[in-house]
Structures are given as C-alpha cells and as structure tokens.
Amino acid sequence: MTTAIGERRHSPESSRERSSTVALSIIVIGLVLWVISLFSIDLSKVNGLGFAAAFTPLTWSALVLAIAGSLVTVYFVPTTSANFWRLMVGALSLVIAVIHGTPMVLESAPRFFEAYNHVGFIDYIAQTGQHSVELNNRLSWFGAFGAGATLSGTAGLPHLFGAIRVFPWLFAMVILLPVHSILTKFVADQRARAAALLLFIIGNWIGQDYFSPQAIAYFMSMTTVALILHLAPSSGPSVRRLKAWWSNRRSPLAPLILATLFTVAIVLAHQLSPVMLIAMVLVVVLSGATSLRSFWLIVVAIFLTWFTVGGYFFWGGHLALLFGVHQESNQSVGLTTIIAQNLTDRLQHGGLEFFVAIARVGLAGVYLSLGAWSTWKGRRSRELRILGVLSIAPFFFLGATGYGGEALLRAVFFALPFLSGLIGILMLRVKPKKMTIIALVVALSLLASVTEIARYGNEKFERISADQLSTMEWFYNSIPTGSRVLYFGNAAPLNFTKIQDSYSNYMCYFHFDKDGPKGKYANDEILRQIGSFAPDMIVWTPESADFSSHVYHFPIGWDKPALSYLTSAGNGVLVVNRPDIKIISFDPSWSPRRGVSGSHA
C-alpha cells in the first residue's frame, strides 16, 4: 500500500563512507559545543523569550550543527548503510538535548508547576489508596496517577522530582518510536521518514509533554494507531465504496484485544486523549487503512462508558461542557469563542509576549500550510490523502472536549506527527545540491530557534528554584492537618505531598466581574474574598502572582497592596520572608478590616 517517494540511486562506496564521516563529525562537534556551552549559559538572562535569550553562540552553533548533521544524513548517507539510522538517532538526540535538555540540565529544580500537582495526586494515592474526586475532579481519571503510585511507590513514598526533570527529554526521544512506526505505513522513503522525525522535534513547541497523564495517554494513543495499522493492515477501498469496504473487514484477535486494553488504559488515564484517539482511529478505519472496521465503535463505547460513570463529577451539573460551552463570569462561552480566545487573547499582549504568541501561531500556521501543500501535491497518492485527513481530524473534535484554553494546542499536538510526515515528503522533493542543503539547514535552524522561543518564552512562571522547593517541602511537613492554605496563584511547586491534609484555594480563582481585580475597590475585594476563605496560611511567590496576571488578566503588580496589608501590624506573621517566597501565618480569629483599600487603578 506504500508509494515510494523521492527514492534515489545510491552513491558510490567511497562517497557513501565520506558522507557518513562528515555527518558523524558534524554531530560530534555539535555535541562537544553543547556540553561546553552548558558551563557558560547564564540563567539570569532568561527573559520573556525564554531560554533563547540565555543561549550562548556555542549553544546556537550546537543546534545548527545538530540540524546540519540530520540533513547531511537524510540527503547523503545511503539508506542501505547501517550507519543511516545510527547517525539519524545521534543527530535527533542532539537536537532534543539542545532544545529540551538544556533547561533540564541547568535549572536547580525541575520546571512545570503542574507536574508537581501530579506528583501530589500520585503521593495521595500511594499513601491513602483512595481517589476522591472531592479532593480534585481530575482524580476521576486516576489511571496514570495510580500507575505512577504503583511504579514509584513500591519501596516507600514516591520519588518523582527526578522523574519531572527527565520526563520531557525522555518523552521527546521515545515518542519518535510510535510516530515512525505509523509513518512507515504511509511514507515509503526512509529519508522522508527521517526528515519527518526531525520536523516533529522541531515543531513540538506545544509543551504538553511534561510529567502528566496526557503525555502518557499520547504515547499510548500513537502506539494503538501504529498497532492496528501494522497488525490489522488493509489496502482495501475506503468507506466511499461501502460494500467492498465492509466485506474487507478482518478482526485478528490478538491485535484487537491489545488495542482494546490500550484504549481502556487511555480512557482511565486522561479525559481528552480518547477523543483524539477516536478521531485518528475513525480516519484509519474509514479510509480502509486497517481491517478492524468496527474498532472505532469499541473506542467510542469505552470512552462514553467511563465518561458517563467515572467522569460524572467533571460534567455533572455542567452538561453544556460536553458541547464545548464554558461559563466565564456567569456567561456562557461557546466553542467559536473558545477558539477565538485561544488565538486572539494570546495576541493581545505587548512586547516580547506578543512576539512569543506570534511565534506560536506562526509555527502552527507554517506546519499546517506546508502540510496542506504537500497533501495537494501528492493528492493522487492514497497514503498522502490519509495523512492529510489525519492531520486535520483532531481539529474537528475540539467541540467535544469541553476543555477551553488548551484544546487547540492539543489538537495541534495530535496533528503534528502527520503534518511532519507530509512536510518530510515535501522536503525530499528538494534536489540534494550543496546550496539547497545549506538553505535548508538555515531554514530549519531558524524554525528550531522560533520553537525554542515559542516553547519556553512567556513561561518564566514555570521556573522553580531549589530553595522554593525545599521551603515548600518543609511547609507541607510542618502545617497541622486540616490547615486552610491560600496561594497567590498556582504557578509554584504546590501540593506535591499530603494534599489530603490541607484545604487549598488560589487567588487567581477568586471571582471578579471581569479582567481580575481592577478599579478603586480592587484591593478591598481581594481582602474580602481572602477573609471569606479564612486562611491559616498564605503563600506568595513572584511567579504565582505573575501567572495570575499572565493568564487570569490580573493587572501587573496586583499582589503588592494585598501583600503589604497582609504582612502589616495586626494581621499575619511572616514565617518565611524571602524575595522568592513569603509564607504568612494567621491567627484563627483574624479577618481583614473593612475599608483598607490600597486601590489598584
């Protein structure tokens, strides 16, 4: 069923060895430069552009050389040579190391505050054996957290801070396996597949691959698609010839059972991923690429069963969520508004934030446009048409997610493997002349630089210091059971242990009319809501306050008047008072006085 695209005659033996040596040299020099550059990167230079601002010329050179090594391998090393994939793996590993490895190696504590919450869920399950949705409705999908507790907790309490650090790096490596496996069914040329893997890494700015159930579900979803394509293959007609399509059905038992088990695991692990799996399975079934004609019904049935029973706490009383309608400031927000917000809200920021937002939208646009162009050029090939449909299918399922802000990002993430395959084929249409390859190295290096900005720009609040982490460890080990803890925002290493022992709230979730606390009585309103919660402790970090401004539209500096009042005489007692973290303790009888406005204009 595959079509050879871009296959070329092999080079003579000497030229073959020379190109392998050249590629190896480029990769090794790139690796050496990257390692040296790690000693000279100054993390204080990280700004709104993310790590790109702190990269030294050596780091950029390493990235360019990694891409050059990949392209020399793709275009000049014969695919018959055993060195082809060895070199490719080496080059791709270096690209991943520079893009994802640099932050992981240099930062004093692992980033991604959301991952700390996940560690908290794992710790809670390991300690209590419970999955109470009253604690957090994400525990309706406890599969991945349970597996985390099982895998990490067999020898005592979970040890997962190390896992948070290495996970994005590890994920970026291993996800290439199922992606490549899927592409082998649609792209015959090994060079195009190798190019596609490079494009997948370069295009992955989405940041959904941190230590999380969605990353695990993504891996299992891609493996499920690869499994049914390889073990229940079909080259029969598509559903347009219904009778012939149906008569070509086969249901080999082992693949069907294994794919079903994977589906159950995905459904138990994450709420949105099964919807994307349904989209992909539906395309491969209807296009006739697999003989498991009714497998999509099994996936839908398993998803609906768990969503109805296990996910009830997510949608019970909020039925509109199922149709992508959210409530914001007591008003219904529909799907089109959510998508518009995804795009336009991110473009409303100024300065570097605007640049990063443009980089993200631009990268997605470039990939989608090139994918569409490749599909159009190869429209006579059935495989390319299927790849084209696979790359847009996740977007049609946005409406069924009820997921708000991140839905569009996740659709792009699920489309990325197929878009990369399409663009890889397009790349192989380029004739391998020296100047063309140099131009491609420049273009892909620019693309990778933009990805570095799109991925880590605007994400300063994701950074966590080892001091903050150790302070929070001490905090959770010392607070009495049943304490009411209020945080200025959720961008901090929070709730990673003993989540069942305290009650948490976040100021970013306070209800204001619109656009956060603005106007003359803003500070009074914040204090009133703090008083309503009656906290025993309040935790402030600069990142958590910034995050509330960045995501929840609080004005810059909104936290200063409240912090000043809370720490003034007659109010809270500063237990920890450092520029990077403040912890304030309150007497049980404390409540804020009326009319203390330090209004925020």
Partner: protein, 112 residues
C-alpha cells in the same frame, strides 16, 4: 516452535526475581523504586509484546513502553475501583498478570 514467548517469559521471571530481591535489600528508597519500576515496566511490556508476531524495532519498543505503562494503569485502576489499592498490591498484581500473560502465550505456542 516460536521460541520468542519462552524467551520473554524467562526474561520477565528474572526481572521479577531481581525486583523482589532488590525490594528487601538495604538500598536507598529511590534506587529500589527505580529498579522495581524498570522491572515492572519491562515485564508488563513483554506481556503485551508476546502476543504479536515479530515486528520492526520501532513498534516493538513502542509496545514494550506502552504495555509497560498500560498494565500498571489497568491493574492500579481495578484495585482503586475496588477500594483495595496499595502500591505493593498493585505492583504484585501487575507482576503476576504479566507473568500469567507470558506463560499463557508460551502454552498457546506449545499447543500450536
């Protein structure tokens, strides 16, 4: 006869025994967790892989990793639903399910 299931079953048994011994050795909790986790993931992955014919390396590795995650997810979820979860029980259950799957595939292969 296809020897692959037998080989997988032997590897899984060795891994299980190693994990069990490491569990009771006076090592750091972190090391014990890592060894136990690695052993469980590979055992679970092999228990999925053993049911399919030999595949290319990319799908084989994907199956080991995805199976290595899926089986602990399934066993842990079942125990959580039954309100009978502890990490030890889930690890033991995962290991036993993996071995049962592997030895069933050996038996099936012998019956062919």
């Amino acid at each position: 006869m296809n020897r692959r299931p037998q080989t997988f079953a032997r590897i899984a048994m060795v891994l299980g025994i190693v994990a069990f011994i490491v569990h009771y050795l006076p090592l750091s909790d972190t090391l014990q967790s890592q060894v136990a986790a690695a052993a469980l993931i590979v055992m679970s992955g092999l228990s999925f892989l053993t049911w399919i014919p030999r595949q290319r390396i990319d799908l084989t590795c994907s199956m080991i990793i995805a199976g290595g995650i899926a089986l602990p997810v399934l066993v842990s979820s079942a125990l959580l639903i039954l309100n009978w979860y502890t990490p030890d029980r889930a690890a033991m259950g995962t290991g036993l399910f993996a071995l049962a799957s592997l030895f069933s595939s050996v038996k099936m292969e012998k019956m062919r």
